[in-house]
């Protein structure tokens, strides 16, 4: 018999092979190999039946099929853009997918080079000279930036200033990560969806070690005061951390040009489909913080034949060497998602990326104008330029409008009693006419 019909389908042993191997080991049964005292042995059952592949695929398709088929006009930090087939195809090559961290660089040059290229493209986009090869997501990236701000020589304070209007997931993660370091998170207000520079200036003092701002903001407004924020942070010896994403960076001002010291954000707006919040955290910073950077870094070197080669480097920052004095506890990261981002960026090229970004501005503008034409609706609520998304004010209670829209096949964000948020990308841009009609009916 070459295949067993019980046990794990992914363990190749026939009964005869198992018997022969037990013989070599000198054990009678597999159970004899376990040195588990009786008092803690488990002899119960989980009650999970073993299923064949077809049944599992069908079962899970049924389960996932219970998700309603709605057209999403959703964003607020998680964005779907069209991912070209070639990205799916190439990234799914199992040489990439089923490998791990490049502890043996000689035999994993392919992935190392791909990550080096990812880092390099982030340098292109941010203008900052150092980018790591991924954080888990935007929220943990921001939290790591805060811890970096605490460690670097350039700062002395222990307060972090973040916008009042920050996504709960980011704020909550930040609060947890900085608690152990004894840092305090405080907020500054927005004025018409942009940084209230005067208020920020009032809150800044010598105890602030990091000022965080976003471009675009969580409601999609393009930030117009970045230079002022950068200057204020620099005047107070605080780091300026900018949150953004690679699509926005295709058009909006280069972070280095506005004085950003660290750039974080959700890079999974490229390369990944909408994934229930899964993404990849981008992280770039100034050269002077190099030895304080969290996460993995790929560098160029040479091999014994003098040929260029890539390797993980500056590993003495990392937990497997530095233990409790490491710059972060991160080990497994989001490398494969970073690979997909790099593929998507290269596929777009600078023209494609800039055009995609320009569409994010124009589509949002057009959609807002169409919605604004509806009686009892104001869009965009802020008198700003917008990127992908914007806030809509409705005279009718917003939750009722959202419910009604849902009945018509569309999902939007409900912010409060009279405010909704709407996001348009290349994925749903073809359905804005239907959406506006539905909105007219719902508002």
């Amino acid at each position: 018999m070459s295949r067993r019909d019980d046990g794990s389908p992914f363990a190749p042993h026939t009964p005869a092979e198992t018997a022969a191997m037990l013989d070599v080991v000198g054990a009678e049964t597999e159970a004899d190999l376990f040195d588990v005292p009786d008092e803690v042995a488990f002899d119960g059952e989980f009650g999970i039946p073993t299923r064949d592949e077809r049944t599992v695929v069908t079962d899970l398709a049924d389960t996932l099929g219970r998700n309603d088929d709605l057209t999403e006009f959703l964003g607020r930090g998680h964005y779907g853009h069209y991912v070209p087939a070639v990205v799916d195809d190439l990234s799914s090559r199992s040489e990439f997918l089923t490998s791990y961290t490049q502890y043996q660089p000689e035999i994993t040059q392919g992935f190392l080079q791909a990550l080096f290229e990812y880092q390099s493209m982030l340098v292109d986009l941010t203008g900052l000279p150092v980018a790591n090869c991924s954080m888990y997501d935007a929220a943990t990236g921001l939290a790591e930036a805060a811890l970096l701000a605490d460690r670097v020589r350039e700062t002395t304070g222990s307060t972090l200033l973040v916008p009042e209007d920050l996504r709960d997931g980011k704020r909550g993660t930040l609060d947890n990560y900085v608690d152990g370091a004894g840092l305090t998170v405080e907020t500054y207000p927005y004025d018409d969806a942009n940084v209230d520079v005067d208020a920020l200036s009032e809150r800044l003092d010598g105890d602030v070690c990091l000022v965080y701002a976003e471009n675009p903001t969580v409601t999609g407004a393009i930030e117009e005061s970045l230079d002022a924020v950068g200057d204020l942070a620099a005047d107070h010896d605080a780091l300026f951390c900018l949150g953004t994403d690679p699509v926005a960076l295709g058009l909006l001002r280069e972070p280095a040009a506005v004085g950003a010291d660290v750039v974080v954000g959700e890079a999974g707006s490229l390369g990944l489909p909408t994934s229930y919040g899964m993404g990849v955290g981008l992280f770039a910073c100034r050269e002077s913080y190099l030895r304080q950077v969290p996460g993995r870094l790929v560098g160029a070197s040479e091999d014994a034949d003098g040929r260029r080669a890539f390797t993980l480097t500056l590993q003495t920052r990392e937990q497997h060497i530095r233990k409790e004095r490491a710059t972060s506890n991160i080990c497994t990261n989001q490398a494969w998602v970073a690979l997909r981002v790099a593929m998507h960026l290269a596929w777009l090229g600078p023209r494609g990326l800039a055009d995609l970004a320009e569409d994010c501005v124009r589509n949002a503008r057009e959609l807002a104008a169409d919605l604004d034409d509806i009686g009892g609706v104001t869009a965009p609520l802020a008198d700003r330029h917008h990127f992908r998304e914007f806030v809509v004010r409705t005279d009718r209670p917003a939750p009722a409008v959202a419910d009604d829209l849902r009945g018509r096949g569309f999902a939007v964000h409900t912010l409060d009693d009279h405010r909704l948020q709407v996001c348009v990308t290349d994925l749903n841009a073809g359905e804005t006419d239907e959406f506006v009609d539905a909105f007219e009916g719902a508002a």
Binding site: V25, I48, N67, E254, R307, F310, R365, H413
Partner: protein
């Protein structure tokens, strides 16, 4: 085994960088609907055509070792086969939903997450599970933050976390990140926790002990009940690092051993692909007393059979911007659903059998035992890193080297259940060929990989972290 890895390029380098192939520069602000002061003036990026892109990444993939290429016995990492049907499941368009969808409209997603919470709780013997942590280390941070919240709630500020010397680096780093002093516990003579040393280490300041079981050289902590007692008597909590759960599926559960908190390493135990470094997922399970501290939101089944989100009463808050690594969780669910009780039990049995069989076949000493799914051989008077480089030429990936430190020149080897007897024999042959190689041959290895021995020192001394830092990789932008 005869092996030569693909190489491309010339005497100077392998496959050129994307920037060396074709790049372009544009002015995104030109013709933009935005005012000039809000846009950048220049954007330079690679601009390969799609055929060039396809060839580039195909070549890179050919210069990359993977589980599908051959044995990958990287100890502690559980590089088992990643069944491809889980990719099919995760690619379902119905899985591509936004995290801000109204829960009523994503019942399928919530049902799957709920089902996974339940599976994991059963498998670990835990009462409540969060799926939010995006990797094992993030799970550790979540778990230790839960422990901290629990102690604070009891008006009980504790300042120390105890970590065995043999623990993974993330345990130390996590405890420090959470603001604790790390107390390192030396290993006992037999490679396990020294119970007396633990007695001496615990105190009113002990917040938790972090433990892997079987430990990082594959040994079961036979005194686990006593260990749990000691920690609990001191008022501390017992944390289980789930990296080695692949040894115990269906045979022993952390909850039954007295652990209060654990993380599951689904990219190890539940076969989701490691993706060249990630993504993984690190769900955390806790006993009922700690459930109220878990991150928000969690999923539960309502009375009407619908699934809903809820915030635990004293939640520590968030550890990820959204719900963690959803696509990884889908794959893990699919794997457990496919294997069922019998498959899980067998996966561990074969993982342990394989490690024991391989250890018999290799010509290096294995100082501690009995081990389970992995063993730490010692390279003796040779440098384990050199032995590893030599193994690369024999068509296998080497083990984890020089860790844990309690085994000198350690080669931590975890073959997993996925290797057949024949491939274990190949693996043993690679170990033994490297063992027989002369010092000179070792120092000269590898010769058959896409790159030969890489100079780590100069990479770190003169960091060049992007193509901008390479003199010869200058832009080929056609402006």
């Amino acid at each position: 085994m005869n092996y030569d890895q693909a190489r491309y390029g010339d005497d100077e380098r392998n496959e050129p960088l994307l920037s060396e192939k074709r790049a372009a520069e544009v002015d995104p602000g030109e013709g933009s609907a935005l005012p000039d002061e809000l846009t950048r003036d220049s954007l330079e990026l690679p601009a390969p055509s799609e055929p060039e892109l396809a060839r580039h990444y195909t070549r890179l993939s050919q210069m990359n070792w993977s589980v599908d290429s051959g044995p990958y016995p990287l100890g502690s990492c559980t590089m088992k086969y990643n069944p491809t049907f889980t990719e099919t499941v995760a690619a379902d368009p119905n899985a591509a939903v936004h995290p801000d969808r109204d829960p009523e409209t994503v019942q399928g997603t919530l049902e799957l997450l709920y089902g996974l919470q339940e599976y994991l709780a059963d498998i670990g013997g835990m009462d409540a599970v969060t799926l939010q942590p995006p990797a094992g280390a993030a799970g550790e941070f979540t778990g230790i933050t839960v422990a901290k919240a629990y102690h604070e709630r009891n008006g009980n500020d504790r300042s120390e976390v105890i970590v065995p010397a043999s623990a993974h680096g993330t345990n130390f780093a996590t405890a420090a990140m959470a603001g604790y002093d790390v107390v390192e516990l030396p290993s006992g003579e037999d490679g396990r926790v020294d119970v007396e040393a633990l007695e001496a280490a615990v105190s009113d300041d002990t917040a938790a002990l972090m433990l892997t079981n079987p430990n990082t050289v594959g040994l079961f902590e036979r005194d686990i009940v006593e260990i749990a007692d000691i920690v609990h008597r001191a008022g501390g909590l017992l944390y289980y690092d789930g990296a080695n759960l692949n040894a115990l599926l269906g045979r022993a559960r952390p909850g039954d051993m007295g652990f209060d908190i654990m993380h599951y390493n689904v990219h190890k135990t539940f076969a989701t692909p490691h993706g060249g470094g990630g993504p993984g997922a690190g769900p955390v399970g806790v006993v009922s007393e700690l459930a109220e501290f878990l991150p928000r939101p969690r999923v539960r089944e309502a009375d009407d059979g619908d699934y809903e989100l809820f915030d635990p009463a004293r939640s520590i808050g968030k550890v990820h911007g959204f719900a963690g690594n959803w696509l990884v969780l889908v794959k893990a669910y699919a794997y457990i659903h496919r294997l069922g009780d019998e498959g899980l039990l067998d996966a561990s049995a074969k993982a342990v059998l394989n490690a024991n069989y391989l250890a018999e076949r290799v010509a290096f000493d294995v100082p501690y035992g009995p081990f389970h799914h992995e063993f730490a051989a010692t390279a003796g008077d040779r440098d384990a890193a050199d032995v590893a480089k030599a193994m690369l030429d024999y068509g296998v990936h080497p083990p984890t080297t020089k860790w844990p430190e309690m085994v000198p020149e350690a080669m931590l080897t975890e073959p997993t259940e996925a290797e057949s007897r024949a491939s274990l024999d190949d693996l043993a042959a690679a170990f033994n060929a490297a063992a027989a190689d002369s010092e000179g041959a070792l120092a000269d290895a590898p010769r058959k990989t896409a790159a030969r021995r890489i100079d780590q020192t100069s990479a770190a001394r003169d960091p060049r972290l992007s193509w901008h830092a390479l003199a010869d990789a200058g832009s080929t932008a056609d402006e």
